[in-house]
């Protein structure tokens, strides 16, 4: 997995709550058997009209946000399905960090598996960053995972919380499966115990 180090970039404001996975990547794009190539269809139904023409009002179609690497958004982002196509599309577009008051559980976990950093902050701090993001491409926000801080374009430093293990994996770009396979002996021991206790399984 790609490492997440420091990130300084443009943040796109998407002030909506309950942005669900169907909005992030509509189901007609789930028929792929690959992980890549979904970025052009990120937020498809808000981003394009039926004929495929860009909707100029949508934030990611505005020139200053086309290369956004950060998304600032509303409560309960990523709710709905467990589909990992949602973080794949976000990553493929180039967004590596999402800041919101809260995230849906499975989506939150899926982000980490794909080198995306989701940051949950109190509403008033998200509001502040939203204002910053609305300034467009001149306002660059800095995210420092190691130090667990966000620095606004005005130099204000906002600390954030993150699970230590998840942070470690992101920083090192660690592959979960490889790590778990190293615990093979513990899995073998568990299976032997479970076979004795619950033989019907």
């Amino acid at each position: 997995m790609e490492k997440f180090e420091n990130l300084t970039g443009v943040a796109a404001p998407l002030p909506m709550m309950n942005v669900d996975t169907d909005m992030i990547i509509p189901k007609q794009f789930l028929k792929t058997i690959k992980r890549t190539g979904l970025g052009v269809n990120l937020f498809d139904e808000m981003r394009y009209d039926r004929e495929g023409a860009e909707n100029p009002d949508f934030v990611l179609n505005q020139p200053q946000y086309r290369d956004a690497q950060i998304l600032v958004t509303g409560d309960n982002f990523g709710c709905g399905s467990s589909r990992e196509h949602a973080p794949w599309a976000i990553k493929d577009f180039g967004i590596r960090c999402i800041i919101a008051p809260s995230f849906a559980d499975i989506f939150y976990n899926n982000c980490f598996k794909n080198g995306i950093l989701p940051i949950a902050l109190p509403q008033d701090q998200v509001d502040r960053l939203m204002k910053d993001a609305e300034k467009g491409s001149n306002a660059r926000i800095e995210v420092d995972l190691e130090a667990q801080t966000i620095t606004t374009s005005e130099g204000e430093v906002i600390p954030f919380e993150i699970d230590a293990f998840k942070k470690h994996c992101l920083l090192e770009g660690l592959d979960d499966i490889g790590q778990t396979l190293e615990k093979g002996a513990a899995i073998d021991a568990f299976e032997a115990r479970a076979r004795a206790e619950r033989p019907w399984l």
Partner: protein
Amino acid sequence: MSPKTLYDKIWDAHLVHEDADGTSLLYIDRHLVHEVTSPQAFEGLRLAGRPVRHPEKTIAVPDHNVPTDPTRIQGIRDEQSRIQVEALRENAREFGIEMYDVDDVRQGIVHIIGPEQGWTQPGMTIVCGDSHTATHGAFGALAHGIGTSEVEHVLATQTLIQSKSKNMLVKVEGKLPPGVTAKDITLTIIGRTGTAGGTGHVIEYAGSAIRELSMEGRMTVCNMAIEGGARAGLIAPDEKTFDYVKGRPHAPKGAAWEAAVDYWKSLRSDAGAHYDKVIEIDAAEITPVVTWGTSPEDVLPITGTVPAPEDFEGGKADAARRALEYMGLEAGQRLSDIEIDTVFIGSCTNGRIEDLREVARVMEGKRVKDGLRAMIVPGSGLVRAQAEEEGIAQKLQEAGFEWRMAGCSMCLGMNPDQLSPGERCASTSNRNFEGRQGYKGRTHLMSPAMAAAAAVTGKLTDVREMM
């Protein structure tokens, strides 16, 4: 020992390893895969040269993409759908996983066939790359959706990296009034707690109204735990659960059965166990409900009126404004005046035999309103066959319903069963998100009985008026 919840007990029984910070390796007893969220996982295994650790603990079934007309046996016309289903078939063969293919009568929606095959049992940990895996919690199994990277992780290691959720209790006590069903319970709970009310929690549903439900009803309730934001939903197993599992193809037999039941009986929360959040609902106060907006929390009794954005605070006011525009509704309009074009009966929420019986009961002596598209998509080939055997299928067809083959169908419209822009649907599925059932399609969620009533009148209708 301190008293434990049902969730605590299942968790403890599956803990392989725990790090100092609480990050845990949890053993997974059963894994279900479907065609949409698994191809990248198998590809990952192939690229890394890793085998599937326990192919016998996994089953595969295509459901999301499959067309529901009988000609599908000759091949799926949509090329991308066909490629996904073929990839599943190929992967199942290569890695030695049992598959219920499109031409198998046992094929159906993954969350319907798990219980149907006895694959789902109390006390298990069950995962699937699909958020409605929560359905299996109705058996007292810890079941939840996972992403594709986690699908790959489970295939390779038969474990999952997890941190423990909090415990939430939703207690529904009392007797449900006539015309009120499991779907109304689960929608009412989401209306009360919101779509983020359960975030970070596993919900245990308890109380006399939950115990009174059939296994089908319990599955409907747990199915939508995810719409309430919870990681999983759970109901303690009892005699009804054991009766349901007994004799099914994958259920334990003989002495193993006795041992299993003994163990399953221990799967209930201890008196005095701690819950981080408790919600209590009086069953007698639940009414038949429908959704008016584009979030499953937008729930109101059918006797109500469409709300105004000003009725809400903060971001929800904007969301409501957007929802009303999308849904083409005016504040103050009576819900029972809303006219529909389509009725969809099916999905892993309400595609089981009991749901179809309920529809047949409401339709007794009545017909689908002229000009309305009304489709029934049984949750599995076996549900379909049983409904045909009971004579329900024939009656419903005579009443004007289309009788389709099994699959997810219009629940998410990945196959040809979709709404057209502006079309309005009375649906027994679980999500009313924008575009869920088709581009610009409008969805109202409700129970099978309510959907049947809507089919008769062509409007959202209080089923109690037909009883």
